[in-house]
């Protein structure tokens, strides 16, 4: 399946031959590049069996990889829960009708979205003693940074979700006599969460990847265990790094697939007819998917 076959003619007899020749040439070039990398690594003995075998040993997994994975998942899991809560609170606060809630909430969200996550983590970790008089563990610094940054992004996503809902939803809730808070919590926010779930799960992928920044402040997670633990014991940086990368890719691909599945489910469930010209904002992901669906 290729969704872009309208960009070129179906090749004729000469075209088929030309494409085969090109494909062969390209394969050879890729193969040659792969071989050069292989040979360079081979010169440094990175393919030697004794560098790869430790990755199969049970004790290497129980002392390095599994505890490292546990550290990553602990920071990411707590980060996901807290960022979700932070997002909910600040999205609601930013849509409040009281300016004294709305303005500070907007300032907080915009600030934490603009500051690099690593600087947040540094400030929490290296600066904590000067600010609060107590030291903060690397774990707490990482989770705090992940929460503030990703929570702010999720707050904005949820706000966009609420804004994309038909106006009639809020009006109907008001007509039933609901207060603004009730309208938000019982009517608007649940729909926004469902509509934005794919984007939120994609943000969780970002959060999980960002948890690797913990490596820099010495948090005991997968990259640290892989590159400082395994590599230090068996001097096999490349195999260890490849294994760690493979684990991250596997987890993130699974989360991506979840987001994709959710996106399909959400777009299936949203065949609501709307009055034309109502000015509803379709979430960007949905717009792209619609375009994709048109082309396929």
């Amino acid at each position: 399946m290729s969704g872009y076959s309208n960009l070129y003619e179906v090749p004729g007899r000469r075209g088929v031959i030309r494409n085969r020749v090109l494909a062969a040439v390209i394969t050879v070039v890729f193969g040659w590049l792969g071989y050069v990398v292989y040979a360079r690594f081979d010169e440094r003995d990175q393919w030697a069996a004794e560098k790869w075998q430790p990755l199969l040993r049970a004790d290497v997994w129980t002392t390095f990889i599994l505890p490292g994975l546990e550290g990553t998942l602990k920071a990411a899991g707590l980060g996901i829960v807290l960022a979700g809560a932070f997002g909910l609170v600040f999205a609601t606060a930013r849509m409040s009708e009281h300016a004294w809630i709305r303005v500070p909430a907007a300032a907080v969200v915009e600030f934490f979205r603009a500051v690099p996550l690593l600087l947040l983590i540094f400030c929490a970790f290296f600066g904590s003693f000067a600010i609060t008089g107590t030291t903060v563990s690397p774990f707490a610094a990482v989770v705090l940074g992940l929460t503030l940054y990703n929570g702010s992004v999720i707050a904005e996503t949820l706000r966009a979700g609420v804004n994309s809902l038909p106006k009639g939803q809020a009006e109907a809730a008001q007509a039933l006599g609901m207060r603004r808070g009730q309208t938000m919590v019982l009517v608007l926010m649940p729909q926004a969460i469902v509509a934005m779930m794919p984007a939120i799960v994609s943000q969780f992928v970002v959060l999980l990847k960002d948890s690797a920044l913990g490596f820099i402040v010495g948090y005991d997670e997968l990259v640290d265990r892989g590159l400082n633990g395994i590599a230090a014991n068996f001097s096999n940086v490349i195999p260890a790094a490849l294994l760690v990368a493979a684990i991250f890719i596997a987890i993130n691909t699974a989360l991506d697939a979840l987001a994709h599945w959710l996106r399909r489910r959400v777009s299936k469930g949203r065949k609501v007819t709307r009055e034309p010209g109502e000015g509803t904002v379709v979430p960007p992901s949905a717009a792209v998917d619609n375009a994709l669906a048109k082309q396929l």
């Binding site: 290729s2 872009y4 076959s5 309208n6 960009l7 070129y8 003619e9 090749p11 494409n19 090109l22 494909a23 390209i26 394969t27 890729f30 990398v37 360079r40 690594f41 440094r44 990175q46 600030f111 603009a114 500051v115 690099p116 996550l117 690593l118 600087l119 540094f122 400030c123 290296f126 600066g127 003693f129 000067a130 600010i131 992928v205 990847k209 960002d210 948890s211 690797a212 920044l213 490596f215 820099i216 990259v223 590159l227 940086v237 490349i238 790094a241 760690v244 990368a245 991250f248 890719i249 993130n252 691909t253 991506d256 960007p284 717009a287 792209v288 375009a291 994709l292 048109k294 082309q295």
Partner: protein, 222 residues
């Protein structure tokens, strides 16, 4: 504010490095991302598969690991050397890592941009006899680029912030300077943090405004 004031020269130097990393990596990512997009939609399955595999790997690997890999794997083990001077070499290795990572996102954005170009455009181009390269280069990509200016802006802002991770590749940019300063001026942590944060806001805010203006200016009228 004393520390920020007395160290203003070193802070500016650090931000100059951040800016250089951002600009060069952005240019590299734009080129590599466009090439990857071309491969992704090409008639040759080999190129499509290669591009897709690359994007999946680069997008799902933490940037920290990508940059560690460029400095340890590409630098130390593959023996790629851009310069005899260590700091210059580290700089180029960091640019390589940031480019490798960011171009995957550029490719994704551009691909969704191609999806917004009406099918009739490519069909009309085929009808007048243009080949794949001509259709992509003269008809589809110019429209796709104009459709994805907002996401490209977000990617550039993310790249600006991501340059802070270049410290794992040994590049002395803003985050390195901030860490040093927090250690030296322990009594002014909050001011230092706010100062560096303001530096990034000053870099990212104009980028956002510029891309917002560009997307309005260049929007494809349909």
């Amino acid at each position: 504010m004393d520390a920020l004031f007395t160290e203003r020269a070193t802070i500016l130097a650090a931000f100059w490095m951040t800016l250089r990393l951002t600009a060069v990596s952005a240019l590299g990512s734009l080129v590599l991302g466009t090439v990857l997009t071309g491969m992704r939609v090409s008639p040759l399955p080999v190129l499509r598969t290669a591009s897709q595999a690359y994007v999946t790997v680069a997008r799902n690997t933490p940037l920290t690991l990508v940059l560690l890999f460029t400095s340890l794997g590409v630098g130390a083990n593959l023996g790629v050397e851009f310069s005899a001077q260590i700091s210059v070499n580290n700089y180029w290795l960091a640019v390589l890592g940031l480019t490798a990572y960011t171009s995957a996102f550029v490719c994704e954005a551009l691909r969704s941009g191609i999806n917004t170009v009406p099918v009739g455009q490519a069909e009309a181009a085929r009808a007048v006899g243009l080949g794949f390269g001509q259709i992509l280069g003269s008809v589809v990509l110019p429209q796709a680029f104009r459709a994805v200016i907002p996401p490209l802006g977000s990617i550039l802002i993310a790249l600006t912030k991501n340059t802070t991770v270049a410290l794992v590749a040994g590049v002395a940019e803003a985050s390195v300077r901030m860490r040093e300063m927090i250690e030296i001026y322990g009594d002014q942590v909050i001011q230092i943090f706010l100062g560096f944060a303001a530096g990034f806001v000053a870099l990212c805010l104009p980028t956002g405004l510029l891309f917002g203006w560009l997307s309005r200016r260049l929007a494809v009228a349909r």
